[in-house]
């Protein structure tokens, strides 16, 4: 039944694409780099193989089968798709279930390659120059074997760097790779890797209890959101020139489950439960009155993905993880603008600009 249903869907999707593209031409005066230039992807973390993401173009047109449309002869891939990241011309999708990274053309979405060597429970990735760096949890029973896979983007060959501490989120700035040693409350440091030598050059201690969940890069700083196991969380600012902690902002004690952080303009946004809070980055006075709060029936899937960009707050809700999820666009006053139905377990927003 699925296959029979899908064929008309392909045709429909192609038709929609064709019409939207002809309207779309040269909106900002530069020729688009491909069908999927601009817009954003919402990654699906459901069990696979599955349609890897939902694509929303600059006009707000939603396509939950963009990958299939672009690759009509390829099978859906992955499963537990954890992260998506980009180089100038390629998009990379990390599948935890398949222990692989799927390489797509960033703007046509056509499948280029699947890298499946040197991964074990891969998590997050980033590109520096001609290399991609992907964190791996390795054996779940141990953190000593956690490692980073280095993919040579010329030939997709791989090698590994053993970190020996929890690894999870990864960022690149100032020709350094920052690996947050924090996952579900364990680990409280950041490992710094030199991407050229592919060696560990340092570690930034965040202090006992400060387990780094996620971070955001802005100007010369990496802002790390650390939770403290139900105690006061904090936003720790690290200067990427010196790799030193330059400021620590304590979050209000009543907000015990901070999860995401994002910076848009002069404002830092973070989430706690189903609420979004904001403060001026350079003058952190944090009000316990949220910017917005939304209703979710999901205990764990609420606020599963979050980002703020160009005056829009993006929230993904994964529901019960065995049904289609939802994504929302809010304005900065907390007004709901758009609701998008996604595939199973949407976990993040990835902008293709």
């Amino acid at each position: 039944m699925n296959r029979i249903l899908k064929f008309p869907l392909y045709l429909m999707a192609i038709a929609i694409l064709f019409t939207s593209c002809s309207e779309d031409d040269d909106v900002n005066g530069t020729a688009p780099r491909g069908e999927y230039d601009g817009g954003y992807f919402i990654l699906h973390e459901g069990g696979g193989p599955l349609s890897p993401f939902t694509y929303v173009d600059d006009n707000g047109t939603v396509d939950t089968n963009a990958f299939e449309t672009a690759n009509p002869t390829e099978l859906p891939f992955g499963g537990f798709n954890q992260d998506m990241f980009f180089s100038d011309d390629r998009a990379f999708v990390i599948s935890g279930q398949s222990s692989s990274v799927t390489v797509l053309d960033r703007f046509s979405l056509s499948l280029i390659n699947t890298v499946d060597t040197d991964f074990e429970n891969p998590r997050y990735g980033v590109v520096v120059g001609n290399k991609a760096f992907v964190t791996n949890s390795g054996d779940f029973m141990s953190t000593a074997d956690d490692f980073v896979t280095v993919i040579d983007l010329n030939d997709y060959s791989t090698s590994t760097i053993v970190v020996g501490d929890v690894v999870n989120r990864i960022y690149a700035a100032n020709n350094n790779v920052y690996v947050l040693n924090g996952s579900f409350g364990s680990g409280n440091a950041i490992t710094v890797i030199n991407p050229d030598s592919e060696s560990i050059i340092g570690s930034i201690d965040l202090g006992a209890g400060n387990s780094p969940d996620t971070a955001v890069l802005n100007a010369n700083s990496l802002y790390v959101l650390a939770n403290n196991g139900g105690a006061t969380g904090s936003v720790i600012e690290i200067n990427i020139g010196t790799n030193a902690i330059v400021n620590t902002v304590s979050l209000p004690a009543s907000l015990t489950t901070p999860k995401h952080i994002s910076i848009d303009g002069a404002t830092t946004y973070f989430t706690n439960g189903t609420a979004v809070y904001g403060y001026t980055t350079n003058n952190p006075q944090i009000s316990t009155t949220p910017v917005l709060e939304y209703n979710s029936s999901s205990p764990f899937g609420a606020m599963y993905g979050f980002t703020v960009k160009d005056g829009i707050i993006y929230i993904a809700d994964a529901g019960d993880f065995v049904s289609n999820g939802q994504a929302f666009e809010y304005d900065l006053n907390g007004n709901l603008m758009t609701t998008i139905s996604t595939g199973v377990a949407p976990n993040g927003f990835f902008f293709n600009d």
């Binding site: 279930q97 398949s98 054996d139």
Partner: protein, 616 residues
Amino acid sequence: MHKALRILLFICFTWTIYGQQQPAELDTIVLNADRLLVPFSKTQTTTTLTDSISKRQSALLTDLLRFNSTIFFKENSRGGVSSPSFRGTTAQQTAVIWNGININSQLNGQTDFNTLNTRNFEEITVRYGGGSVIYGSGAIGGTIHLNDKIEFKNQFSNELFGNIGSFNTQDFGYKTSYANSKLYAGIAISRQSSDNDYTYDFRGQERTNLNGQFDNFSVNSQLGYKLNNYHTFKYYNYYFDGSRNFSLINPSEIPSKYEDYNTRNLLEWEFKKKAVTSVLRAAYLTERYRFYGNVDRDSYSSGNSQSWIGNYQFNLKINTNTQARFVADLNHTSGAGSNLENRDRTIGSFSFLLNQRLNKWYYEIGSRLETTKDYDSPLLFNVGISYRLFDFYTININGSRNYRIPTFNDLYWIGAGNSELNPEQSYQLEMGHSFDFENSNFKITVFYYDISDMIRWVPNSSAIWRPINTDQVVSYGLEFQANYITRWNNINFKLNGNYAYTNSTNRLTDKQLIYVPYHKATNSIHINFKPSANKLHEINTYVQTIYVGEVFFQSDNNPEAVLDSYLISNLGMEFLPKKNWTIGLRVLNHFNVNYQSVNNRFMPGINYNFYLNLNF
């Protein structure tokens, strides 16, 4: 060659169309066959599957039950993790009972139906509906009974069974028993293994079931000694050691495997005098699993439990139509594991059961009171009434309250276990209409379940996953069973059919539960050809068919997230060239249907089996 064989077998089956009249005696494998081992089940449906039915399936308990009952199984691959849904309930709401003892895992509360080898057991009974008063936790959807027999009559028998099939599947067994009027000794040894590297069509691409191999070794033995007319001692032992790799969907997945090691021992002393039967039982059960997240590593996570069970039953036959039974049970279990606190738990229970036949009426009642420090146990009850309106028509009604207790994982998982949990509980009601004729019988049953306090793991405000009592499910449906036996000259026909409609919804969302098909049907036809002269020996042919309707695999009942319905069928033929020799040939899934019972987990297409059975 294969095609020719299929045509030949098909021709055999077309005979059934002409099979009529000439009643043959009803075989004992049909409904309500065994009233001794389940004496308090007369207002419910029971189906007993004998050894000879088991031999016509693979050694996997899943295969036997999916072809011969309305239970739906989620199978992660052939031989892979298999969990049942019985009347729309969860895997933990079906209890497996070994010689009267509940053997569901103390750690996760369920039984994996591909970790039991059917060759070990003399007979397997499916009991539909609630049974917690008698069988304890998890007897909500129904119970599966694995039974051995000890009989004190002179005999010495030996049996060899060998089965080889596609994907290098091997299934060998040896059974022997010796008995006289005082002594019984029996042992069954089985080994089963398969490379299980079948191919399937994955959305137009041919894929191989990678890392799907399994093997297991099991021994079942019994000893019986009849001291005199009053005292009898019996000992049952079961040993299972299995290893199973978990199939991959994508070839690049990290291959993992799972090892099970279980032992079960039961010692029984029966005293019988006039109207009194007293049975004292002591059992010791152990379970241990090891999960290797990566088969290339030595590291694993594990769990184990050991249970001591003492059970005393006092049965009083008040008169020929009335019996009362008191049961006292004490269960002491200790559990431990990589992620479990080392904990003990002791549960004591007391039950009272009564049944009485009054002319055309029959009733049975039962109640169970349980006491433990670990959770608040509800008072359980069971009430059943049947009335024989006509010689051929009986109506029965059964209502019961059943439960599923929190498991060791639920209670004692390090950092997450919730000691405040209550048991899941179910109020349920069913009504059956049975029609019994000389060479056929039919039964229609409607059932209704209201299950609350379902235990589910959800994260709390600190994002720590913990189990809580939350969901409520209402399940209702209809079951239809039919058996028909006839004879045409020297050909015997036996037909059996089951159908179930199941509507099982989450009360909060009003959506059908995932992996519960609305429709499931099974059908089997067995034909026995006995030539009148001695020149030709017996030939049996059979066909087994199941139909499983669509299932949702998303809880929002998204119409695009549906697994297709499937109809699969097996053909078999047995030749009996000599007395006590059986040579069998089976073509499984002969329509070569590419099907899946779990999303993206495909099962094998057409495949073959050859078996030989020797009795001496």
